[in-house]
């Protein structure tokens, strides 16, 4: 920082500017940290390149299009069509979002708008404790407790509502739905925390304006809180989606690990992450199989990149929206 302000001090200027030697630690700090940060990018780039290089054998053998869009994953015959895996990943993540986001938003709403003051902190902590349970425990609980308990109910549901597409048909114990449900529980804390953050920044003026116009509590939420928080909630949902896409252990225990595309959400399937966990042990000595699994990891990585990119645009939009909203509020206050 230039000590130009102290020109007037004359002789003392050099003292305050500091000798070049004294500047050295500053420069070291700056360059050191810059190198570190660039190093992080280099690491990720190396990561990405290594994944591509290691998965090359299966792409040159089958072609990228074949790998991604063929429904035929039979390692014992050297056939690697990853479509059922990709579809399974997308289905379970979609179910996780459909179930998890509304519940997460509801908890965030309750905590920020509707709960009595004393309940807020404990409730927040309780929702966050959901994140403290490791994924292997969720998976085991899902396998030993949830699946048997849910089977009669899902069978009834599938029979009663079989006219809805993708619901009717046979019901297996482990299936897409249970996996999606477990994932929903796992992404709840993240989506709830972000929604809560966003909702707590809704300008009071907006809420008070709605109430002043005679709105009921719920109408105020609908008119002032939700529209304002929409972009932020979407960003949070994207982060939850990213987590759901990559969850491995919990999913592999409850999805049935069948490389097929089921007819209904109550049938078993497979995901990219689960196949890596299940098959990597034996694939290590089979170069093509190993490349196929690393390619699955690569696809996961790319999916994460895409989802994160989308999340960012939502967050940016949210920030822009909040800045725009702040202006008229300032005007009103003024």
């Amino acid at each position: 920082m230039e000590a130009g302000v102290v020109h007037a001090a004359g002789g003392r200027r050099r003292e305050l500017e500091g000798s070049p030697a004294a500047r050295l630690p500053d420069r070291l700090l700056r360059w050191g940290l810059t190198a570190l940060s660039v190093g992080v990018i280099v690491l990720i780039a190396f990561f990405f390149i290594r994944l591509i290089v290691e998965s090359e054998p299966v792409f040159s053998e089958q072609g990228v299009f074949n790998y991604l869009f063929t429904d035929n994953w039979v390692p014992s015959r050297d056939l690697y069509g990853a479509l059922p895996l990709i579809v399974g990943t997308l289905i379970t993540s979609a179910i996780a979002l459909v179930i998890g986001v509304p519940v997460a938003v509801a908890t965030a709403l309750y905590v920020t708008e509707l709960a009595p003051r004393r309940v807020r902190q404990p409730l927040t902590v309780l929702v966050e404790l959901l994140a403290a349970v490791p994924s292997v425990v969720y998976g085991l609980w899902g396998f030993f407790f949830l699946i048997p308990k849910l089977q009669p109910a899902t069978r009834w549901f599938a029979d009663t509502f079989s006219f809805i597409p993708f619901v009717g048909g046979s019901v297996t114990g482990p299936n897409y739905f249970v996996a999606g449900l477990i994932l929903a529980i796992m992404i709840l804390p993240i989506v709830s925390a972000i929604s809560r953050e966003v909702m707590s920044t809704v300008p009071r003026e907006h809420k008070e304006a709605a109430l002043a116009l005679g709105a009921t509590r719920w109408e105020m939420i609908r008119m002032a809180v939700i529209p304002y928080s929409r972009a932020g909630i979407a960003g949070g949902a994207m982060l939850g989606l990213g987590r759901a896409i990559g969850e491995t252990i919990a999913v592999t225990l409850v999805i049935g690990n069948a490389p097929v595309i089921g007819d209904s959400i109550f049938q078993q399937g497979y995901t990219l992450a689960a196949v890596i966990a299940n098959e990597f042990g034996e694939a290590a000595s089979d170069p093509l199989h190993r490349a196929a699994l690393i390619a699955a990891g690569l696809v996961l990585f790319v999916l994460t990149l895409v989802v994160n990119g989308i999340a960012r645009t939502f967050v940016v939009r949210a920030e822009r929206g909040s800045r725009a909203a702040a202006k008229p509020a300032a005007g009103m206050a003024g």
Binding site: A258, N278, E279, G281, A283
Partner: protein, 374 residues
């Protein structure tokens, strides 16, 4: 503020202690090479790392425990499936491997790039056909063709005439059959599908026999325990699990028709009988599926340990190679007496002698390995 500072210091301290302790090593786990020119060390010590089939995991685990008590060598065993055992053995990340299915030609070629793999059969176990059907007791009679049709998805109800035909007098309900099978590469699967292929043309031409196949029907689960869980939780289910898991879960198991035409339930005697009915080739790559014998249980599987003919040339230290030989000696010696306690059948004498000869012939850098009498 003060709290967080104390905590930060405490955390840093704990981490520092941890990192400092990282330099020190636990005595039991020292892997320093034994003093050695060519002479064997006075006693054994060190750690052995093995991995592979979950099929024999109970007995290998128990052996490891007793081996450590008697010889002071720690044996670590990870049940990752036969495929995993073969893969890691070939890669060199473990010292000995375990598999229910002998290496096929392709796997053999891959392993031979590093050294000559030796198959040492250890025990025989029964692959039970377990089922969970209300009102149906153990001993349901099934033959290979029927079982294959069930797993092919051709027979979908328990009261199907094919099953009823074999079971006069048994009240079979009109329940759907849910098939439980393995989702990971498994020697248990290899043995089971070998049996199915023997009795069903449709199976042999279709999914075939391998550590992992494309299952026409059913739910996939990880490991013997996964299939056991699937059977346990689902009414009307049927699955193939190793005898120890069937016993643990108190499953009702089928009496399977063997080559001689008799319906035999999985038992220690019936499993041992399968071993008697087989004469293995010189390289000990064999299977005991569908063996001859009146009272043989037809889905008895022999399981192997994998070791390098010349461990040192394959990358093991002298100490590790010696430990491997001692471990194999134990498996073929005192271990055989422990096996029945866990419902595994010991090897018949003829096979054991053949196996022991291979173990005796293990070398390190060309010279036979001398194992100190623990």
């Amino acid at each position: 503020m003060r709290y967080s500072r104390i905590l930060a210091v405490a955390t840093a301290g704990a981490i520092a202690v941890g990192v400092a302790a990282c330099g020190s090593s636990d005595d039991d786990n020292s892997t320093t090479a034994a003093t050695g020119d060519g002479a064997a060390a006075a006693t054994l010590s060190g750690t052995l790392n093995g991995a592979g089939a979950t099929f024999p995991q109970p007995v290998y685990s128990e052996w490891a425990n007793r081996f450590r008590d008697e010889f002071g060598v720690t044996v670590n065993y990870q049940g990752i499936g036969s495929g995993g055992g073969i893969a890691q053995f070939t890669e060199g990340t473990i010292d000995w491997g375990a598999t229910d299915a002998a290496l096929d030609d392709e796997e053999l070629a891959a392993a031979q790039r590093k050294g000559e793999p030796v198959h040492i059969p250890t025990v025989l176990g029964a692959v039970t056909v377990s089922y969970n059907v209300d009102g149906v007791d153990r001993g349901l009679r099934l033959d290979g063709a029927t079982i294959a049709d069930v797993f092919l998805g051709r027979i979908t109800k328990w009261n199907d005439p094919a099953i009823a035909r074999l079971n006069d007098g048994v009240d079979l309900p009109d329940t759907d059959i849910t098939v439980c099978h393995r989702s990971d590469e498994s020697g248990t699967t290899a043995n089971f599908t070998l049996f199915l292929s023997d009795y069903s043309r449709a199976w042999a031409d279709g999914p075939g026999s391998d550590k992992s196949v494309k299952w026409p029907a059913g739910t996939g689960a990880r490991g013997n325990d996964g299939v056991a869980g699937c059977v346990k939780q689902t009414q009307g289910s049927i699955g193939y699990v190793e005898q120890a898991y069937a016993l643990q879960n108190d499953f009702t198991t089928a009496a399977v028709q063997n080559k001689a035409g008799n319906f035999v339930e999985p038992s220690l005697e019936a499993t041992s009988a399968a071993g008697e009915g087989v004469r293995p080739p010189a390289d000990l790559r064999f299977a005991t599926i569908n063996a001859d014998g009146d009272q043989t249980y037809p889905i008895s599987a022999v399981t192997f340990m994998l070791a390098w003919q010349d461990g040192c040339r394959a990358g093991l230290s002298r100490e590790t190679a010696t430990n491997v030989k001692a471990w194999l000696n134990y498996a073929l010696g005192a271990g055989q007496e422990v096996a029945p306690e866990l419902a595994y059948a010991p090897l018949p004498d003829s096979i054991k002698t053949q196996a022991q000869a291979r173990v005796d012939a293990l070398t390190c850098d060309g010279a036979p390995i001398e194992v100190p009498a623990g």
